[in-house]
């Protein structure tokens, strides 16, 4: 089998930018995606802070543009789930549900996925009143009373979005203040359909065929309160998709991939970019920056370790 120069795992903004830079450098580039293009940004209805789009842009549309741009320079897509990575020096091997692929370098851009609450009832009522996607399921909650869990940007933005449909939205947060950025907080705090329940967690989700109430626990008083609701939307952060490399690459305690400023992991020839890596700020603008740096450094790596073999 002809080895690829670069294999990229994940087609969110970080992975697609690596694909664009690699392909544009005439490297033979394959990018793998398990669930269709986009990554987490695709779930964002409107991105307001990606420079160059002064009126905002839909996350999925932005991803499609990035994919088209990468493909324009010859990056090849494949829908497959990555099972594991292996070393066969000097090459790197990606084992997938569609077979094994050999490459000179690998760039991991597998991103992160929403965390669960892990409370009783969450799994049982999933898709029957428990949701993780407001833009998907919001229209099913016309005139309903809804709970949103979380205090970060996603929770607060989606709570605001849900007030378009719902009668009332109650934001349940375990602290006494929001973590969301100021502009998002201001919108939420002045929204008359939105109420805030501070210092509180979800103890249990209950219902019959669908959710009809939750048991809340106040963390300051340790009191339990029963609250009727028609649905609950959960936005309590993310966890990295790194299970397939946990025995190969150095991870942080939370499971993020450790990298240096060139996006190198603990294994030479394997890079990590975007939300999957340990970093300060997880945004589209930092993801694309990671993607470009890894592709650039990867090209130098290939020139050094595969001097005569460049395709």
């Amino acid at each position: 089998m002809q080895p690829y120069d670069v294999i990229i795992i994940g087609a969110g903004p970080a992975g697609l930018t690596s694909a664009l830079y690699s392909a544009r450098s005439k490297l033979n580039t394959l990018y793998l995606e398990n669930l269709g293009v986009g990554g987490q940004v695709a779930a964002t209805d409107e991105i307001e802070n990606y420079p160059g789009f002064s009126r905002g842009i839909n996350g999925f549309d932005l991803s499609l543009q990035m994919e088209e741009q990468a493909q324009r320079f010859g990056a090849k897509p494949l829908l497959a789930k990555v099972l594991s990575l292996e070393l066969a020096d000097p090459y790197r091997i990606v084992k997938t549900t569609k077979g094994d692929f050999i490459s000179k370098i690998i760039i991991i851009a597998s991103g992160a996925a929403p965390k669960s609450l892990n409370c009783p009832g969450e799994l049982a009522f999933r898709a029957h009143g428990v949701s993780y996607c407001a833009t998907c399921d919001g229209p099913f909650y016309e005139d309903a009373n809804i709970i949103v869990v979380g205090g970060g940007n996603s929770a607060v933005e989606e709570a605001c979005y849900l007030t378009k449909f719902a009668n009332k939205v109650s934001l349940v947060h375990r602290r006494d203040a929001l973590r969301a950025t100021k502009i998002i907080q201001e919108r939420a705090l002045t929204n008359s359909k939105l109420e805030f329940i501070w210092n509180t967690v979800i103890q249990e989700i209950r219902g019959e065929t669908t959710v009809n109430k939750v048991i809340l626990k106040n963390l300051q008083t340790d009191q339990f309160i029963e609250m009727p609701t028609d649905g609950i939307f959960i936005y309590v952060g993310n966890e990295p998709n790194t299970l397939f490399v946990k025995d190969l690459i150095e991870l942080t305690q939370e499971g993020y991939i450790e990298t240096d400023e060139f996006m190198r992991t603990s294994i030479p020839g394997i890079y990590a970019v975007g939300d999957v890596r340990h970093k300060l700020l997880r945004q589209v603008v930092t993801a694309v920056s990671d993607g470009a740096i890894a592709a650039y450094h990867g090209e130098k790596y290939i020139e050094e370790y595969f001097p005569e073999k460049r395709n």
Partner: protein, 109 residues
Amino acid sequence: MLEGIIEITKENFNQEVLRSNLPVLVDFWGPRCIPCKRLMPIFEELAADYAGRVKFCKINTAENRSLTQQFNVMSIPTLHFYKAGTIRDTVRGLVSREELEERLKIILD
């Protein structure tokens, strides 16, 4: 709409889904639902690979409220796997091609 994938409304639901000779996979989706859009290339790939063995159908929940309510769909994407007019399995949320193929085995047996 890709060739081979049938758009379902309440007018053709009985004919295309309940009375189908082939097993049927029905995808409830919505125009604002991004996971639904991400599922589409996987759905299309399967529709091509299983052509003649499974019928692939889509229901736009935004335009078919009564069908959506009739099946109590509260979260999309939701996929119903039909054999001989009855639902044999359900998948909710964005899943991989491999998981869908596992479920397809149930209605192909």
